[in-house]
Amino acid sequence: MSGIEETRLRRAFLEESEELSQKLGESLMALEADRANALLVNEVFRLTHSLKSESALMGFGTLSELAHRMEDVLGCARDGSLSLGKPVMDSLFAGADLIAEMMAAIAKGGSDADFKTGDVLQGLSEARGNGHDRPPAPSHAAPAQGGQPNEALPGITATVEAAPITLGAFEKLQLAEARDRGEDLLRLTVSVDEGEPMKFPRAYLVFSNLEAVSNVVKVVPPMEGETAEDSVYGRTTILLTSGSEEEVRRAASRVDQIAEVKVERCRFEAFLSAAAVDAFIVPVPGLWTAGAFAGGGPETATTSAGQDEQARRSESPEARRTGPVEKTSIRVDTRKLDDLWSLIAELVLHKSHIARLSEDIGRGKDVHTVREELVESFDSLDKISSGMQQTMMDTRMIPISVIFSKFPRLVRDLSRKLGKPVDLLLSGEDTEIDRSIVEALSDPLTHIIRNSLDHGIEFPEERVRRGKNEKGRVSVTARRQGGTIVIELEDDGRGIDAESIRRKAVGMGVSGAESFTEAQLLDLVFLPGFSTKEVVTDVSGRGVGMDVVATRIRGDLKGDVVLRTEPNRGTRVTLLLPLTLTIVNALLVRGDVQLYALPLTDVDSTAKLVSAEIRGEEGHESALWMEEEIPVYSLGALFGSGRRRTDEYFAAVLRHGDRKAYLVVDELIEEREVVIKPVDDLLNSQKMFSGVSVLENGKLVFILDTSFIRREHF
């Protein structure tokens, strides 16, 4: 197999298995809360089984063995011979953790073989009861479910001629009936032309033709339901029974763009034999080409050459240890892709239309008519391009549950470790957010929750003394508010004493700290150097690395973080995040000759300011907005020669978190979308811009990072 194919396989494996591993953790949590739930036991069993099979296929023997032992334990729980007591659950949790660690190591290019599984395996086998212990599984891979030795698993070598097929009970029944009718059992291997751009429909057409003349028993990869990606259908294996081989051949060959259809007669017994009876199939989307099926071969069993290859591969360290595989593929709701495709189809249509119009002009067609058609076509193109943009943006959105789902486990473990019973409430998990933001959010959220448990929530005795419920409460909610995602993390712990922050700040020489409002004091927690553990733990018991959280949220994600607290009642950290990072709706303004864009999420309104309303001296001006005195900045003063003096000014009212400010501009131009591109550090030494954008006319627009209105206070 080529290196590229191997990388692709690893990638597919990682993607699939990481999800399985994550689900395993979640299902175990659910199972712990509801141990008598047979469905959950089955679910966890299925997950360990899938992990076992997938890792065995990839030659990750240590991982596979671990999953196999967990599956054993769950098998006993499933058939009622083992009850899920604490030691059993703990050993399963330990196993799930180790699997997650192995997956992480494999993703980074490491190997599962670097992990010591002895203790966990010991724990699992003790949990299961010594009486049932079985000899250890082969070290490189676990046996398949049906008692098949693992050597029978076709390896990741893609030299297998056709994917071996294993059948379920229903399919076997079909075979038995066909045999009784005296039909032939045929296995077809259909190869689509390399050049065919759409392989799935091509293979589907063959399948559909075959269905008309025969009894199709099984297709690999599957044609209905959960289908694999298009390229995988370059080769399809179809098992069918028929009274006329000739008719089958004809039906298959009627389709164009088919490179080859290989027809093999098979013995019914090969598929109905005892060995194949209980074989358990785990479909592994993305791994089909590698022949992800076990057991039930054709007349000729899996070749010995294939076995040698498999054995060699399993032992060779290269099989397990290649370079890090970056996770570059994403899962997208296919409906979103369908939308995109139909838009592209329309686009192609209009392209030809416009080409025809230019020909029309050449042929001397009336220019007015052509122009009208052109305008019409342009309108459509406009609609199509905004549709495509919207759909493309939609494909970037994923539910925040991707991160939230990790929290129950985190809280469970921390709460045990610290001896603080805590209830975790999650809500708004289906809120969708840009995937690039999601990835960057995981760490800060984990950090804040950790802080809540570590420093916010009191020990049970202390809580009782303070008249609180013995059990602490942490809630995490997400919701969308216009163009902003709001995530709130709240605990009912001891809170933070703002006054002691003030004392600390004054002691550290923070200018103006004496007169800071509570909000300003709390914001100090996010400053680097201030929120070191010693300092803040002394004050109130919170703040390990809150500056890191702030840097990530305010800096990298262009969002904001606000802390609110009430002593003895608890603390709430609110994160405000933009929906997406790449395209923003913005207010285009001009200062001197330069254009600037103000993200609409940061613009409250626009206003006309009369110079008499502006108070204070230059550089420290303010004016009333509603009933609030807010600072007045001006683009001219920030970036140019100063504000020119007139009686009346145009201004945008900016907001960042709970702060507001006027920004005086020379011209309010329009609201529009701008595409954000990274800005050069040289141009951005003051960190005033979150990016630049280039307009159609080639003009450069600076996108203002309005968080400066917060920074200016310090």
Partner: protein, 121 residues
């Protein structure tokens, strides 16, 4: 005289190319249609041996038009022309009984070999 073929595509340019390819090979162009309604009408009156049908057309898309054609003649031979990415539509068309499909942009020999195979049935 070669088999008769009805061409349906809303782009006259596309019809022109197809016409050229087919007549050069000796097929007879039974007629042309620029939208779904028209192709159904023309199929009724012309009864061609085969229909080359674009999947996206105004007034009645190719898929619907094909279904209508099958109600007129269940054995009609229809080849669908589609753009890349209309995979789901094609699968729909296959379920509805299309004989073959061609993905745009195509080479002349693609149309010809698909037509030859479909006509052999």
């Amino acid at each position: 005289m070669g088999a008769t073929i009805l061409i349906a595509d809303d782009l006259s340019f596309m019809r022109m190319i197809q016409k050229e390819i087919l007549t050069e090979r000796g097929y007879t162009i039974a007629g042309e249609a620029a939208d779904g309604l028209e192709v159904v009408e023309k199929f009724k009156s012309l009864r061609p041996d085969l229909v080359l049908l674009d999947i996206t057309m105004p007034n009645m898309n190719g898929l619907e038009a094909m279904r209508k054609i099958f109600t007129i003649d269940p054995h009609a031979r229809v080849i669908m022309c589609s753009a890349l990415g209309q995979q789901n539509l094609i699968v729909e068309a296959i379920k509805a009984g299309v004989k073959d499909f061609i993905v745009k942009p195509f080479k002349p020999e693609r149309i010809l070999s698909a037509i030859e195979k479909a006509l052999r049935v």
